[in-house]
Symmetry: C6
């Protein structure tokens, strides 16, 4: 594992967008104006990094499956920066703590070699191995990540860090909020209208079928609270059921 880690952490200088593109495989449904607003703020910080400030750290937070990773990936991929990288728990699974630390350290040292850089730190609470029972987490990993969140890149290099988390209050308790220059909330779907936009985009049944879904859902609960990620998978699940309408209602109302 350690050798793998070393191998992975010395990629050629430059763009390595593969992982980030994977996060956008399902596309971005424009189900609400909020989606646009978030991208606008993100792009503005991209400009500030490019033209003025050597280090900006942003925090994107919201419930599980609300679309944080996809939106962070979108901002990064649209930046046109020569170095964009994803730091994600997926790439560090089964590594020892010290291998993870070496991996993180190398990723940032790599970033420091390019003039304009974006690092997306995905699922920060998972990277630090946070578990609410105890609570437990790796302080050693936490220390290296938070040091890099505040450490200015050398010389004239620029770095924009976009961190995602579904555990805002955990970061608060860990006193990490002062590490970020700004934080951006990514909400769940909250209205039937928003959900209808998703069904339309996913071509779920026809207008009548969707109306039936909305009607039944509305009679159970006036407001939704489901992330875009789960909404999209539920629509697919329902497609394989015997009664797609009822099953989708059941899955969305759970």
């Amino acid at each position: 594992n350690f050798l793998d880690a070393l191998a992975e952490v010395t990629p050629a200088f430059g763009v390595s967008e593969g992982d980030l593109k994977m996060c956008l495989k399902e596309g971005l449904v424009n189900y609400s104006p909020k989606v646009h607003d978030i991208l606008t703020i993100g792009h503005r910080y991209v400009r500030q990094t490019k033209e003025k400030t050597s280090l900006i750290s942003l925090l994107m937070h919201g419930p599980s499956g609300s679309g944080k990773t996809a939106l962070a990936a979108k901002i990064a991929l649209d930046s046109g920066f020569p170095f964009v990288r994803l730091l994600s728990p997926d790439n560090m699974a089964a590594m020892s703590e010290s291998a993870k630390i070496a991996y993180i350290d190398n990723l940032f040292r790599d970033a420091y070699k390019s003039p304009l850089n974006i690092v997306v730190i995905d699922d920060l609470e998972k990277i630090i191995e946070w578990v609410p029972i105890g609570p437990r987490f790796s302080n050693a990993i936490l220390q290296v990540v938070t040091t890099y969140l505040k450490r200015h890149p050398p010389d004239d290099r620029r770095l924009l860090i976009i961190t995602t988390t579904s555990s805002y209050s955990v970061l608060q308790q860990l006193d990490l909020l002062s590490c970020f220059n700004n934080d951006i909330a990514v909400p769940n779907l909250s209205t039937l209208d928003e959900f209808n936009n998703v069904m339309v985009e996913k071509q779920f049944l026809d207008d009548k079928g969707r109306a039936e879904v909305l009607h039944k859902l509305g009679s159970i609960t006036p407001r939704l609270d489901v992330g875009i990620k789960n909404a999209m998978i539920n629509i697919d699940s329902a497609t394989f059921g015997e009664n797609p309408v009822d099953e989708l209602v059941e899955l969305m109302a759970k």
Copy 2:
């Protein structure tokens, strides 16, 4: 142990159904329509994985001995997928933590090599070495398992993960429920009727003997709450007693 682990984790590519078949050695008694319902839901997710979604994670939960492992094994074995594997505490007994992690890591990397895969993660709370006093558990093992629960297989590979647990509330406290796309409850036997079906299937005494058992049991408690696993062993124990009827009543009423 570590060498053993390495040896075990590099099996030939393809189906390895031995362990799963062991879980069904005693067969499936159709003691209630609930049994059929659970299998139906399971098979539907098998179809969804095959035809559409790259990663589905299910959770089967219920009291100790309610039949979770047998049902998960049945769904997996019926899938016809080229790769079906069981990740169970039994295979990792006496391994060190790092050997367990390597074992789990390798099992999933193996799975990623086949186009259609099912992994049954049996007794998740035991895999993470959960003990309610403390509480204690291996966070390192937990991290690697939960990362794989959410990590999409590469390219066009598909993966259905069926996890079993008798400690639903533990997973809740560990904030793991958001890792699963759906969860399925596997209940205990709860009526004398259901129990009678099991006695009939096991050919315990004759109609009169079984009626006597049900009558005596019914006079002690109106409802049962015993898992199918224990019910079947109790029937066998009673067979070796001097007074099978009374002993079975006593064992079932304990």
Copy 3:
């Protein structure tokens, strides 16, 4: 120590009854019908293992010194099984945690080689190094033992496990009770009559002396609560005192 451990854990295939016989050095006094009842239940499970069920796990619990180990040893030695073994803290003293785990692992792997097996796990709470302050215990040892408590022997092998503990409530807190198919209570001496049977068997003084002991004891406390083990040592201690009657009364009333 580790080499010793390895040496000890690869005994020749077959019966190894030495340690179990040591547990019966002082014999079994038939001081109450309860003694017979416990042996009867035990022998019944021996039959079930032999003829039907591949794995049975029993728990014998009771106060310190109540005779659990001697009774478990008796059941095992009477079974006529080709493989009977004692897993006891005594044999693992001063081993490291990993050596203990290897020792336990090997003992069970050994057992899996014989068609009919009994393993007596003596003093489970001590094997897991339980201490009520903290509380502390070795989770690694606990995991390996509990895995073997539920793991079916391969092929047609049969295994009866008899576990003893003087800390029933500890096992309860550790959620271990569901690992056992049945549990059997081994009580202390609770009446003067029972104690008299022991004095007679040990030939302590004559009828008059014993009557005096019982009379004096009875005037202090109407009921006894002393284990057979301590009762027998106290009788010996009194023999070496200047006034055996009074000293025995004092020791038994402590």
Copy 4:
């Protein structure tokens, strides 16, 4: 990492001001007389160290971003001492605990070689890896730092230590305050006037634009509580917004 550490900790004898100068890259805005007062006290302790006392330890404390590091750097750089060094978490990121300890130890041993020395210990709570949850920290690092805070340099060497922290109460709980000869508070911007001085210095818009900012800010809250560091970055962020006045107000009022 360890080899790197060793390499870094044996710099040539003498001044090594690079890191300290980095801390002053954005200059010192004279936004309030308090800034001057802090520098005056600092310079006085520089004189005392030079002419009389072999060891002085100061503590600069204040909220996150209030300018502690910049002020400590200024005092050190103005001293004219042959040896001025910065001990900062940035230089120890990803080091193991023992590498950090060796690094700190070597830095002070280095300092003991020069007649007049200043060491700035930046972000003490981060150096000891403090996290409020637990709480957790490295006692080994804490021990080595606090020993050096009180250890007199050998022979006639002189040492002024300036420590910064944004967690005064943590040091209090750790019983560290008795390690310092004096402590100096570095406050946030607290009036609109102070903030105006910063806007003027940063040439944010014109008088009218700044007046609008102050007017809007004043209508939201009568008093500010923002550090100079964040105030300066917010001004830059606003510059890249579509409506700089409103965005600056929003950022400052957050």
Copy 5:
């Protein structure tokens, strides 16, 4: 240290009374009939071990300095047994935990080679490294000691273990009391009379001086509560003072 340990743990077979004799360097003052009673009980258990029971474990407990170690040493040295050994924290200072365990293990294995053995385990709470804050202790050392407290010597060997502790309630909390066959209290000096006996024995001043001490002490407190050990050192300290009477009173009343 480890090599030293090994060297020390393989002494020639037989008596090794040196350390035990050291414990009696200051002799035994017969300051009260209680002293005789304790020795009588001890000697009786020596006889029982010699003639009948293969393992006896005693516990001598009392306040710090009350004379436990000296009395245990006396009983052991008077036994005439071929093997008498002292297991004391002093001989294990600065050893690692595993070296201590090996040392203890070897001492008992040694003991098992001789037909009649006494092991004095001195200061059990210190051997297990007990500290009330936490509380902390070495569970590994505790496990090895308690296993040997209950483990019968092989074949016809006999073993008497005399354990001392000044922390009876700690052993109680650790659930260790059931490891001992009997426990013997060693009290402090509690009357002026007892203290006078000690002064006489130590030839402190003359009758008049001692009467003055007793009178002054009596006017401060009606009852003493000082161990024999401290009483004897205080008498010596007073001898070196300018006013022995007053200083002794002050030291004894502290």
Copy 6:
């Protein structure tokens, strides 16, 4: 570090007074009769060790900076004993726990080689790495130190141990007080008179200036509570201020 440690712990046999003399660099101001009293008691125990008792352990305790180390050093240096040594946290900075233990162990083994010995254990709570949060400390170091506090030197060797601490209540909680034969309180300056004696000795200003200081101080607080160490540094600090009188008042009243 470890090699350094070994090198340092094998000094030539005999007196090694360097470190102790460093503790008295600033001399002893006779600011109060209490200073003389403490030295008198100390010298008396020196005599007792020399002529009678093989082991005496003293504890000097008092607030931070009250002069404990200087007074202990004075008693040791005045003894004329061939072996006087200082065991201080300063000499063990950056050592690992095991290196510290080896260092302490060797220092005492060294001491056992000389007929008359004094060891000053300075800042015991710091030697055991005590931190009130947790609380945390090194139990391994604590064990080795406390064993040596009670361990009699071999043969006819004599040992006086003088321990200092500013955390008396910590030692109390750790149950260490019974390790000491006596304890001696070292108080802070508590009256203006005492402080005046210090100012005179340090030649701070003239009589009028000092009177002004005392007058102003007295109007703020009727009683002082400052250690001699801080008092002396404050006087020096004031000398470098623009207004020595006011600054001294401010520093002393803080």
